[in-house]
Subunit: 423 residues, 2 copies
């Protein structure tokens, strides 16, 4: 039986126990959240996850790292290094967004090696396979898509992004209104091409119930993709985005009715004063389902530093209801990230998540701040390094300064304020 | 006559014209802001600033980069490289915080080479000179301090941090309350040592009027330092911090009465949900004087990445009233920053400032976002690079991807959403 259906019957599964224990929360609290849809635990009947995590209301802020090859750069070994780095620096989940000739091989390796939940965007596989066989995404039949998701679910994927909210009506809203940057979602662009070519409703919306049936069979969580997310702050919170969100709200309740756990994906590029509003809107429109956001980026001009623009948006989003932050790396908008970019992205998201967890009073968050204050007060450098978000970098910085065994740092030297007032 | 006194007589000085023109603002608006104290233009009668800037209500968010040597690491050449990098990447002002044997030499070089306003913390010089002559900061007389500020003003320093708000009463509030991390301000620790040793009121408070007279003589702006700023999120917005802020509010009005422009320095380490409140409190307590903040850091654990934790706090602060963001570099809490750390710090602050300027609807801010959206829509990579916050890094990332002349990137390759829907 699915985790959601079991929770509805009052059963606390092993995954619920594990997720609750990890966060010092009451298992019953998590069970109730899964019942009412405000919490999900991504999982798959065919896979045991080593590091289970609960995402949603009342839990700590979780982060996801996107990895995966592209048609222009594919190296399975490198993707496993990215997985390892992402998990080492604190990613709670990863998505393998591979698209290209090695996509199946890479996904299998990622699933085999990942201690955390693994997500995918199945339409990438469908699109690539059609393209490789001389057809196009516009030729996709719903069976092509069913085959992909069944195949991926069978292999153990824990959550899948499916853009069923990109409907003809939502597309018409966008066309009618006009945008500075139209569509930036790959999945969204596939479906829009399909609808324009075929003049019909999107099969991912038409056959949504059947999609849910397959997901339910494997207990896979649906991540309702936002194909029309704004790709520029200029387009943020527009009629197209909110129209799609309304459809996602309806699709959430249909997922729940079939015992499928659901999270909602969100923007994108959003000016800082619209971030809180976007979070609150999602919660009310989607009946409290967890919100999984990309950034949001609070400006378009941070290419090379989108991890920073995303951390600003992510922190503010998380204190206003966002539950799950998808990282952005410095490579966003420029190229496929390297292992180092993955590390920078994970760390920036962890900082945003922790800053929010202080506000949310998540168990353990303030203890860590207090421990750092104590380590600084006592000039205990080893402890400061250990408590920092990336001890490797903190240690390297201190060593580079050639301070040796001195108990101050090269910023103030003997004029250190803390040292002066220590006695 | 001082800029503030001239403004009060209805005179629009050259500096006011230059600052207004730079921002496409009305010069009369800036003049009025200088009259009521809500805007400052740091300057010095003995120096002509190439890139004048107005800081405060209704202007764009400004950023400051701290440079300067320390007793443990001193290299005048390197400090000039930091100055050049800071200005290149967009710092509106710099502070030379040099403390050590070469402090005077470095300051003179920085003033000679800086196209932007230069600030200092004069008590560092006084403290170092006392220490070098076998005495201690506790032996400081007010004449030692007068000599330093007169000397620095004579040389052309445009704004000076002076911690006159660290009084015996404020110190008693801190001692009475207890803190996780006491005092982290160097200047603050000097004055507390002095008061404890001498059992008297701080001379910087006792002789505040005389200090103002010297600043007024050279038209130097006072930056009222926050010696008791919280050095840990645990201590944020405590009685000690707010007691000092109240004194700073009183000192602001006394500065204005003598025709001295004033900005207020602010925290420090502040949890994200207290940032807005801190900004609003400063504005009401300090009669609308510009707020010059360090970060704020929204967590203590980001050593190695404090530029990111500071950008989160800075962006939220700036949309809630902060006018002037002092950058933090990745080296904060660990060592004296290198040139590369300075660049990372400036860029992170620029992202925060620009994100806020979108919300504040600063002239030109949205034009840049719209231009970026257009460059992305047309896959115009050269334009995207040019519009990004650091074109050097954006270009390097694109080149490293070995994409050549292709008009997509290695993230999606031919499956680029924008390309797919371009026609």
């Amino acid at each position: 039986m699915n985790i959601k259906k079991q929770a509805e019957q009052g059963i606390i599964t092993d995954n619920i126990y594990a997720a609750a224990k990890k966060e010092c929360l009451d298992a019953e609290f998590i069970r109730k959240g899964i019942c009412d849809g405000s919490i999900v635990i991504p999982c798959n009947k065919n896979r045991k996850i080593e590091k289970v995590c609960a995402i949603g209301q009342g839990t700590s802020t979780k982060i996801n790292a996107n990895i995966g090859a592209s048609p222009y750069h594919s190296n399975p070994e490198e993707e496993l290094q990215k997985l390892e780095a992402a998990v080492k620096y604190g990613a709670d989940a990863v998505m393998d967004l591979s698209l290209g000739p090695e996509q199946i091989k890479i996904r299998r390796e990622v699933i085999a090696h990942s201690p955390v939940p693994v997500g995918t965007v199945p339409i990438y596989q469908t699109g690539f396979e059609l393209s490789s066989s001389g057809r196009n995404i516009e030729d996709m039949t719903i069976n092509d898509f069913f085959n992909t998701i069944r195949n991926q679910a069978e292999e153990g994927v824990d959550f899948m992004t499916i853009h069923s909210g990109v409907t003809r009506e939502v597309l018409a809203k966008m066309e009618n209104q006009g945008r500075a940057l139209d569509v930036v979602s790959r999945g969204g662009s596939f479906l829009i091409s399909w609808m324009r070519r075929n003049g019909k409703e999107s099969p991912l919306y038409e056959y949504y119930d059947e999609i849910l049936d397959i997901l339910a069979e494997y207990d896979v969580t649906i991540s309702l993709g936002d194909g029309l997310r704004p790709g520029s702050t200029v387009d943020a919170t527009d009629r197209a985005q909110i129209s799609e969100l309304i459809v996602l709200g309806e699709l959430t309740e249909r997922a729940w009715a079939k015992g499928v756990q659901a999270v909602i994906e969100g923007p994108g590029h959003v000016p800082l004063n619209q971030v809180a509003e976007n979070m609150q809107l999602q919660k009310s429109i989607c009946s409290g389902a967890p919100f999984y956001i990309l950034g949001p980026l609070v400006t378009d001009i941070a290419s090379g530093y989108d991890h920073i623009a995303g951390a600003i948006g992510g922190a503010v989003a998380a204190i206003n209801g966002a539950d799950f932050l998808c990282y952005l790396t410095p490579a966003e908008h420029l190229k496929l990230p390297t292992v180092n970019d993955v590390i920078d992205g994970v760390i920036a998201s962890k900082i945003a998540a922790h800053a929010a967890d202080l506000v949310k009073n998540v168990p353990g968050a303030w203890e860590r701040e207090r421990a750092m204050a104590k380590a600084r007060k006592t000039l205990d450098w080893e402890k400061q390094i250990e408590l920092s978000v990336n001890p490797d970098k903190a240690r390297a910085y201190r060593q580079e300064s050639e301070i040796g065994e001195d108990n101050v740092c090269t910023m103030c030297g003997e004029f250190c304020a803390i040292k002066r007032l220590q006695n």
